[in-house]
Amino acid sequence: MTAATARRSRSPLPAATGIGALVAFFATMEVLVQSGMVNRFIVPPPSEIFGSFGRVIVEEHVFGRFLQTLTECLTAGVMLTVFGVAGGVLMHRFKLLQQACETWVAALASAPIVLMYPLFLVIYGRSAWTIIMMGFFAALPPVILKTIEGISGTRKVLINVGRSFNLTPSQQFWKILFPSALPTIFVGIRLGLIFALINIVGVEFLINYGGLGQLINDLAERYDLAGTYAAICFVILVSVLFFMALEKVERWLRPVD
């Protein structure tokens, strides 16, 4: 199939179905809550959540907090990409390092790093850096592991093409291994960003500091359930923005697979 036909065959149907399903879900919840089948002290009716948006935006300075969480995610994301990819490359390059560390990195991926927040508080104080560093460490393993996977997965014949053209080791890396690994590395970064966002909002909530996580903590303690859910919507917005930006970067780096 050519690019032109691929473009033409993109119909609005999937997007419409997605939005439709979401609307249907909210409508169903509304009915369930209003009819008393779901306790409204656990789940507020969606209409009330949407109604509280104005209040959350004006009274709780949600945009400032939104920006704060966004900045923390962005910082962690940049660090993640730089150190995660570099770590993966080094581990691929030095097999001993890979054999020594790969299992540990994989173990770290499933460790509940968020529980180590007291340690980070001691090191970085009650500041944005505690939050950023926790997001960073929690999200590092998938980036490292996917970088290794991507580089090792480079097809043998492409490496041989490079050798047949007498590429230097650095050309071999930048012109063949790295571009070939890029799609897999992006999978790692995407996973990493999910981990980072979860941890960042979680730590904000736990140490009651800064952005959207703290707001959720506040609202929950005030038992403002509708406001809590409205704030959660803003967390989702952060992740949506990140994924859209990431997709743009990926398309720019590698237009077609």
Binding site: T2, R155, L158, N160, V161, R163, R254, V256
Partner: protein, 278 residues
């Protein structure tokens, strides 16, 4: 048997090449004492049943394999790593999926530091040569298998190798595409007076294109015979219908059939053994 006729105009010489692999089932002799030479401007083919050691030989000549015995010389110079005079086209799909057709073909030009405008111009020339005009800005993922193989060929040609070395470049294509691409290669070879070493298992392809054909035996991979193909040039795929052509095909097939059936029996036995042991 086939001692290298050490003529002065040999551009490539393979001298007593031996390659063995240590495998779980013991050593396999993939190439056994293979010697030949290729002359300047010649189209030379190596033919043999699959598994006889053709790709191994390809890798040795290309400098990608170094644990062989014997020597490969290019213009009198013994090689131990990929030599800039040899351009390789691989059997597997080998285009870079992240580069457009132009950027794929311009790859070797980029390596020598040619400036952008000039290398796009050069790449365009080779893209035209393999008949892919109009596809310059497409990505390999948008092309058919035959077109991708032509991109690989153009990329190798762009490095202007003294010797074009190809390992079953059309093996994965259907018969019609293969014949037409064969025409293209012949046309290019005549146009550039390109010295070419083609590795193939296809008799028609070998006879259609070659000046000489080396027939390999199966396990160990030895030289069975080197056949001179005395057909007029320029050739196209139309030659396939001629009597002389049929005669050469029959001759090479009689050499090969013995080897091919030995190869088949060997592989069947292998499957049986595995079945018995499991």
């Amino acid at each position: 048997m086939a001692a290298p006729s050490s003529t002065n105009n040999a551009i490539l010489t393979a001298d007593h090449i031996n390659v063995r692999f240590e495998t779980a089932e013991g050593p396999v002799i993939a190439v056994d004492d293979v010697s030949f030479d290729v002359k300047q401007g010649e189209f030379f083919s190596v033919i043999g049943p699959s598994g006889c050691g053709k790709s191994t030989l390809f890798n040795v000549i290309g400098g990608l394999l170094s644990h062989h015995q014997g020597t490969i010389k290019v213009g009198g110079e013994t090689i131990s790593e990929p030599h800039k005079s040899i351009g390789m086209v691989f059997q597997e799909e080998s285009t870079f999926p992240w580069r457009t057709v132009t950027d794929n073909v311009a790859f070797p030009l980029e390596l020598i530091g040619m400036e952008k405008a000039q290398r796009i111009e050069r790449a365009k020339h080779f893209i035209g040569m393999v008949g892919l005009n109009g596809f310059e800005n497409r990505y390999p993922g948008e092309l058919s298998g035959g077109m991708r193989q032509r991109v690989s060929l153009a990329r190798t040609l762009a490095s202007e190798p003294k010797i074009l070395l190809m390992d079953e470049p059309f093996a994965a294509l259907d018969e019609q595409t293969r014949l037409l691409l064969g025409d293209k290669v012949l046309q290019i070879q005549q146009q550039l007076k390109q010295t070419t070493l083609l590795i193939t298992h296809n008799i028609t392809e070998a006879v259609q294109m070659s000046d000489r054909i080396l027939v390999m035996t199966y396990r160990p991979g030895k030289v069975k015979r080197i056949v001179d193909i005395d057909l007029p040039r320029p050739r196209t795929s139309e030659i396939v219908g001629s009597d002389a052509f049929g005669h050469y095909v029959a001759q090479i097939w009689s050499d090969l059939r013995e080897e091919a059936s030995r190869g088949m029996r060997d592989q069947e036995k292998h499957v049986m053994d595995e079945g018995a042991s499991s």
